[in-house]
């Protein structure tokens, strides 16, 4: 970044003694000495980088960062309360103390009675109860006409602090003992998602651990916008910021007005 050409030095008018040696001053436009690169030093010594929604060490996926002045946008994006989408992989038959497959084993159970239909039924009920929580935590008076209209359009969302809420959940793959779920949620942590997998196992009269948590979408940022480890260089970062600028701006205007 420091190697890139910076701003041109400012110019000011100074009254210098005449070059010929005669007395008097001559007005000359010279660059300001304070702007000289040797005086000023490198333009960037440190960069302020802020992080968006947290991501566990055991999880992977889209992680939004803000650089410099972009950190202000991070707070605005947080206040938009947009949903995040995760793919969560689970394994039936085991229960561990930290709900993931690397924890200490608590119990082993059978799982041959589980069918895809039972899993989908449980998943539908989870979605239903969380939908109810969505309406309750959105702090709208249920008796008004506007609450009814927002509920019809499906736009009711908590716009303040709330416990983790799952807005949509469905089963992507099911091959005993493994299964994969797609979860859309708000205000959650990855450990909460692992706990949900554990509770699904309990509800099906067996046990389950979470093998994989991967965030595939965070608000407006999807996997396509994300940069891989090999792409962490200035050019790609610049291109990524440029591509996402418009999306972020429209989303902020739409939600926060």
């Amino acid at each position: 970044l420091n190697a890139a050409p910076g701003r041109a030095p400012r110019q000011h008018v100074r009254f210098l003694p005449a070059p010929d040696g005669t007395t008097g001053l001559v007005a000359a436009r010279v660059p300001v000495l304070a702007d000289h690169p040797l005086v000023r030093g490198p333009r960037f010594r440190r960069l302020k980088i802020g992080a968006g929604h947290r991501l566990d060490t055991k999880a992977s996926g889209v992680f939004v960062l803000g650089i410099g002045h972009g950190n202000k946008l991070l707070t605005h994006l947080y206040n938009c309360h947009l949903t995040k989408v995760y793919t969560v992989g689970g394994l039936f038959g085991k229960a561990t103390d930290d709900f993931s497959d690397t924890g200490n084993l608590v119990e082993k159970t059978t799982f041959d009675h589980i069918t895809r239909e039972k899993l989908e039924r449980i998943v539908a009920v989870i979605q239903g109860t969380n939908h109810k929580a969505l309406l309750m935590y959105s702090n709208i008076d249920m008796k008004t006409q506007e609450a009814y209209e927002l509920a019809v359009k499906g736009l009711i969302r908590p716009m303040g602090k709330s416990p983790p809420i799952i807005t949509a959940i469905r089963c992507l793959q099911f091959a005993l003992p493994e299964f994969q779920l797609e979860i859309h949620c708000l205000h959650e942590t990855q450990q909460y998602l692992r706990k949900i997998v554990h509770e699904i196992g309990l509800e099906l009269k067996s046990s389950a651990v979470c093998t994989q948590v991967r965030r595939i979408r965070d608000g407006v940022f999807t996997l396509d916008d994300a940069l891989l480890r090999t792409q962490w260089n200035l050019q790609s970062i610049r291109n990524a910021i440029w591509d996402c600028q418009l999306k972020v701006k429209t989303e902020l205007e739409k939600t926060l007005g």
Partner: protein, 455 residues
Amino acid sequence: AVLRAVPGAVLGAVPRPPALHRGLAKPAGPRSVRQLREAEEAAPVFQYAGKAAKRKDRVFVWGFCYSGALGVPSFVKPDVGWKKPRRIQATPYRLETEEKISSAACGYGFTLLSSHTTDITKVWGMGLNKDSQLGFQRSIRDRTKGYEYVLEPSPIPLPLEKPQQTRVLQVSCGRAHSLILTDSEGVFTMGNNSYGQCGRKVIEDETYSESHLIHQLKEFDSRVVQVVCGQDHSLFRTKKGAVYACGWGADGQTGLGHYNITSVPTKLHGDIAGVNIIQVSSYGDCCLAVSDEGDVFGWGNSEYLQLASVTETTQVNVPRHLPFKIGKIKEAACGGTGNIVLTEEGNVFVWGYGILGKGPNLIETAVPEMIPPSLFGWSDFSPDIRVAHVRCGLSHFAALTNRGELFVWGKNLRGCLGTGRMEDQYFPWRVTVPGEVVDVACGVDHMVSMVKSFA
């Protein structure tokens, strides 16, 4: 000096061999990966549910407790010191039953549960029994008297000819009378008969409380397949598609062309003559019937614009066809002031007066209004959610989806909605029940649901 004791040694004993060296035990460090894997493979496997595990059938109740209609005695008379009497059960509460309940009906302060079994006890009742709507419940303290309030599901003895072969198909409850439909022995009626709603002649000054009389009705043109109780009248639907009625008729709810009492079930004519009716419904003073071609017919009270689409009068005593252009109708349900129908596509339409389910602004309408399916959980993410059944209580509505979710809305009279809150609900709201709801019965201030467990 010779006998000076050597510390630790007994005089004359053999000198001890040198003490065995005990190495200090090494503390157990973190187990290696191989040890962990071996421990995991050696761990015992528990089986909570086998491969052929069946889903269990359960009954959940909620609403007003003091009438005893919920069937949990500890709500009214606590059996343990720390329990307090509960006036309202605001969320679903599990009711333990001995048999699988196939049909339930809620009346005005009492409930009937029936099972499909061939055992001797097929029907249980709880709640108000001041008019013997639950039969004669012999009191334990005084063998000649009966109970006025029944707090627990108590068996109702039916005078069956073949008690170990007949099965009870369906039960229905009205304000103070109840009907029980069997498969081979007709319909049994009990309770108040001051308007002939039990299908027998009205006896002046009859005392209905502690009465042993259960009347049996068999004279219909074919086998009765559905019985429905209105507030003070009864409707019977036969296999051939005909509808019979008896009881109070001052609002025309018997549909027989007059406003008098009928004490013998009589066949209805009017617009339903010759039409094959597949479902009848009533709870207050208005009645609806659905034909096999998807048409809906109505008669009875129309003070709340229930039948205002065909007539300006407030009472209709002959069944009239309601010309709604909303599609083929599959199911209909009548409440006290509002009606609800379900079409073949799965759309729900409401009309009438009261809290209809489209927000606080819609109080009354004579023309059916559709409730948007997104309120029942339909969205782009789950597009195959459909409403499967609709039910109606006196001032609230219930809808069951094909995924087994129960939605309620309407006036929350004494906690009958089961949402956990005491406020009225102006649009469909989910009731959290731990299971898949198979059927629900709505009463005035309580509800009963039949639920299948998840796994």
